[in-house]
Amino acid sequence: MSNENELSHRFEINGRDFSNAGRASTSIKEILQEIGIDSSIIVRAAIASYEAEMNVVMYARRAVLTLNVTPEKLHLKLEDEGPGIENIDLAMKEGFSTATDEMREMGFGAGMGLPNIKKNADEFEISSTPGKGTTIKITISLDSTENK
C-alpha cells in the first residue's frame, strides 16, 4: 500500500479517554503544516478529524483513524468498534444528538459533529453496522501541487 508519494499515519483512539481526546487531530494538523498544505485545508482536516475523534471518545469503544496524503488528495478513514448508528439519516441531521447530560455539561452534544465532518469534506461516506461499529471516509482534494 505504501507508495513513495503517499504519507500515511495511524492513530488509535479509545472510547471515554477524554484526557487524550484531540491528540490525533493536533498531530494531523502538525503533519499537514510541515508538508506545507494550505492552511484553509488544514483547518478543514483538523475539524473533521476532531469531530470524528470526539464521537469515538463519546459513543464508541475504540477506533483507528488513518490519514493518507498524496500530492493530489487527503484521505481520512475512521473505523470504530462500538454500538454503531441505527439511523444514519437521523444522525446526520444538524442538531441531532444522543449525548448525555454529562456530555452536554462538558460542551459536547450540539449535534453538529457529523454534519460538520461532511461540510468540510469534498467526498464523504459513512456506513454502520448496529452492534458492531461505524466507518467514516472522507476525502479533501489538494488542488494545487505547489506549496505556498
Binding site: 513513495e4 503544516q33 510541515e34 508538508i35 492552511s39 475539524i47 476532531y50 498524496t70 500530492p71 506549496n147
Partner: protein, 456 residues
C-alpha cells in the same frame, strides 16, 4: 527569505552551550552549534523564555540604553501598567510617574488612561463584529506572533485595534510638537517595558506598519534608579492619588484584567504559552464559538509576569488585583469618557494601519510530493534515534533533529548514538571497541544499566 527582526540576541562570549535555553523554547527555535546557542529566526516568537532560562545571562534583550534620551529635544516616558505593580501597596502610579520625571525624562505619561480608552474601543468592536468567534486580544505581541506562525486561520479573529502604547505615542507626538513648537521627530517617546517582545513590535510591528515609539527601556533596568528617585518624593494623599487611577487601564497589567474591568460576560482569559496553545487548539476546532472574547498572554499571570519585571509575579499580580478591588469598592471612575471614545471610534481613531498577516513556517519542501517524501524520511530517521531527547546533537528533541537532518541542516553523525560510524573507516579495531561499548546497543536498555556497564 524575509528577515525577521528579533528582540533578543545571544552573546557568544558568554554562552557556554549549556542548553538550558534549548529545552525551554516552546517553538524549538534554538540549536546549539559548536557549543554556542543560536536562534532560528523564522521559528522564534520572542516569548523571552530563553532569557530567563540562561544561567549566564548570555541571552540579552535588545532594549534601549538610557543614553538614547540625548538624541531628542523632549523625552516622554510611557510606562506599561505592569510597572505600577512593581512596588509596595502604598506606592501608587502618581508617585511612580513623578519618580520617572526625576530620572531625566521631561515628562511621564500615564498609559493606564489610554488603556482605558482602548478597553472601551474593544467593547465597541465586540459589539459590532459579525465574523467568526471568539475575537482574540492583541495585547501580547508574542501571542500575535504565535497566531501568525501556528494558527494562521485565526488571524482575522485578532482585534485590529492599535495598542495603547502606540496610540499614546502618536498622540503625545502630535500634541507636544504643537505645544513646544518642535518637530514630531524631536520628541522621543520611550516605552518602559515588561518584556523584550515589545521591542520587536516597535521595530517590526506584526501588521507591518510603523511604530510611533522611539524605543523601549526595560523595567528591570529602570527599577533601581526609580526606587531611589522616589525616596525623596513627599507622601501625598493616598485617597487623592487613588482617584486618578483608571481602573480599566490598570487591568491591562494582569491576565483577565480587561475582561473583568469591562465586565464582559462571555469571555475567557488565559496566560502561559502552553495554556494559550490549548485554548487556541480549541478555538481552531470550533469548540469556543460561543465565547465572544479571549484575553491571552504569553507570560504566566499576564504582563506582571514579563521577563523584564522585577517583583515576584504573584505579589505583583496581587497588587493589581487588590488595586482593582479597592477602586471597585470605592467606586472610583477616573476613566475616559465613553461618549468621547465612541466618537473617536467612529472616526477610526483606534484602528491599526496595516493588517495582520500569517507567517507560516517553511514547509519541508516547496513541492508537495517532495515534502511528503521528506516527511517520511524524517519519520524513518526518527525511528532509528534513541528518542531520549538528550540534546547532545544540538537540537532540543530527537524529532527536531530528524527534521534538521532531512532539511540538511544537521548530519546523522551529529547524534552521539550514530557516532560509531565516524570511526568505522579509519580504524576497524577502534570501531569494534566502540561498538562493544556503543550507546547504540543501549538504546533499548535503561540508562542505569549502561552506567554500570561502563564501570565494569
Amino acid at each position: 527569505m524575509k528577515e525577521y527582526f528579533h528582540s533578543i540576541r545571544i552573546d557568544p562570549e558568554k554562552c557556554e552551550g549549556r542548553m538550558k535555553c534549548l529545552r525551554v523554547c516552546p517553538t524549538q527555535a534554538i540549536r546549539v552549534r559548536n557549543a554556542k546557542a543560536m536562534i532560528i529566526a523564522e521559528k522564534c516568537i520572542d516569548c523571552g523564555e530563553c532569557i530567563t532560562a540562561c544561567p549566564h545571562g548570555a541571552i540579552v534583550p535588545l532594549t534601549d540604553p538610557f543614553g538614547e534620551l540625548a538624541k531628542f529635544r523632549h523625552t516622554v516616558a510611557i510606562p506599561s501598567p505592569a510597572l505600577y505593580a512593581q512596588f509596595g501597596r502604598e506606592i501608587l502610579p502618581e508617585k511612580i510617574l513623578s519618580g520617572i520625571k526625576k530620572l531625566g525624562f521631561d515628562d511621564a505619561f500615564d498609559l493606564a488612561l489610554t488603556c482605558g480608552e482602548v478597553s472601551f474601543a474593544i467593547q465597541e468592536y465586540l459589539r459590532e463584529y459579525k465574523g467568526p468567534k471568539p475575537l482574540i486580544s492583541n495585547a501580547c505581541p508574542t501571542v500575535v506572533r504565535l497566531i501568525q506562525v501556528k494558527y494562521p486561520e485565526l488571524i482575522d479573529q485578532i482585534i485590529p485595534i492599535e495598542l495603547p502604547r502606540e496610540l499614546a505615542a502618536r498622540e503625545i507626538k502630535k500634541k507636544k510638537s504643537k505645544q513646544l513648537k518642535l518637530k514630531e521627530k524631536e520628541i522621543g517617546t520611550f516605552y518602559l517595558t515588561p518584556c523584550p517582545v515589545k521591542m520587536i513590535s516597535i521595530k517590526q510591528p506584526a501588521e507591518k506598519g510603523e511604530s510611533f515609539l522611539d524605543g523601549a527601556i526595560s523595567i528591570s533596568d529602570i527599577y533601581g534608579p526609580l526606587l531611589s528617585a522616589m525616596e525623596g518624593i513627599e507622601k501625598g494623599s493616598y485617597r487623592k492619588a487613588l482617584e486618578n487611577i483608571c481602573i480599566l487601564g490598570v487591568g491591562w497589567a494582569m491576565v483577565g484584567g480587561i475582561c473583568r474591568t469591562l465586565r464582559l460576560k462571555n469571555s475567557l482569559a488565559v496566560s502561559g504559552l502552553g495554556e494559550v496553545i490549548k485554548v487556541f487548539d480549541d478555538i481552531e476546532r470550533g469548540k469556543l464559538r460561543n465565547i465572544d472574547f479571549v484575553e491571552a498572554y504569553s507570560c504566566a499571570q499576564g504582563c506582571v509576569g514579563g521577563s523584564l519585571t522585577v517583583e515576584n509575579v504573584y505579589i505583583s499580580y496581587n497588587k493589581i488585583l487588590k488595586l482593582i478591588e479597592t477602586l471597585e469598592f470605592e467606586q472610583i471612575k477616573a476613566c475616559p469618557d465613553i461618549r468621547e471614545v465612541r466618537k473617536l471610534y467612529s472616526q477610526k481613531y483606534f484602528f491599526i494601519k496595516g493588517k495582520f498577516e500569517p507567517r507560516p513556517l517553511k514547509p519541508l519542501d516547496k513541492d508537495l510530493a517532495k515534502a511528503i517524501k521528506k516527511r517520511k524520511e524524517k519519520e524513518h530517521i526518527y525511528e532509528s534515534l534513541p528518542k531520549i531527547d538528550c540534546g547532545a546533537c544540538g537540537a532540543p528533541t530527537c524529532l527536531t533533529f530528524a527534521e534538521d537532518v532531512v532539511k540538511a541542516e544537521a548530519e546523522l553523525i551529529d547524534c552521539i548514538f550514530n557516532l560509531s560510524q565516524r570511526f568505522k573507516e579509519p580504524s576497524q579495531g577502534f570501531s569494534e571497541l566502540f561498538n562493544k561499548y556503543s550507546f547504540r546497543s543501549q538504546t533499548k536498555s535503561s540508562p542505569k544499566k549502561h552506567a554500570k556497564k561502563e564501570k565494569q
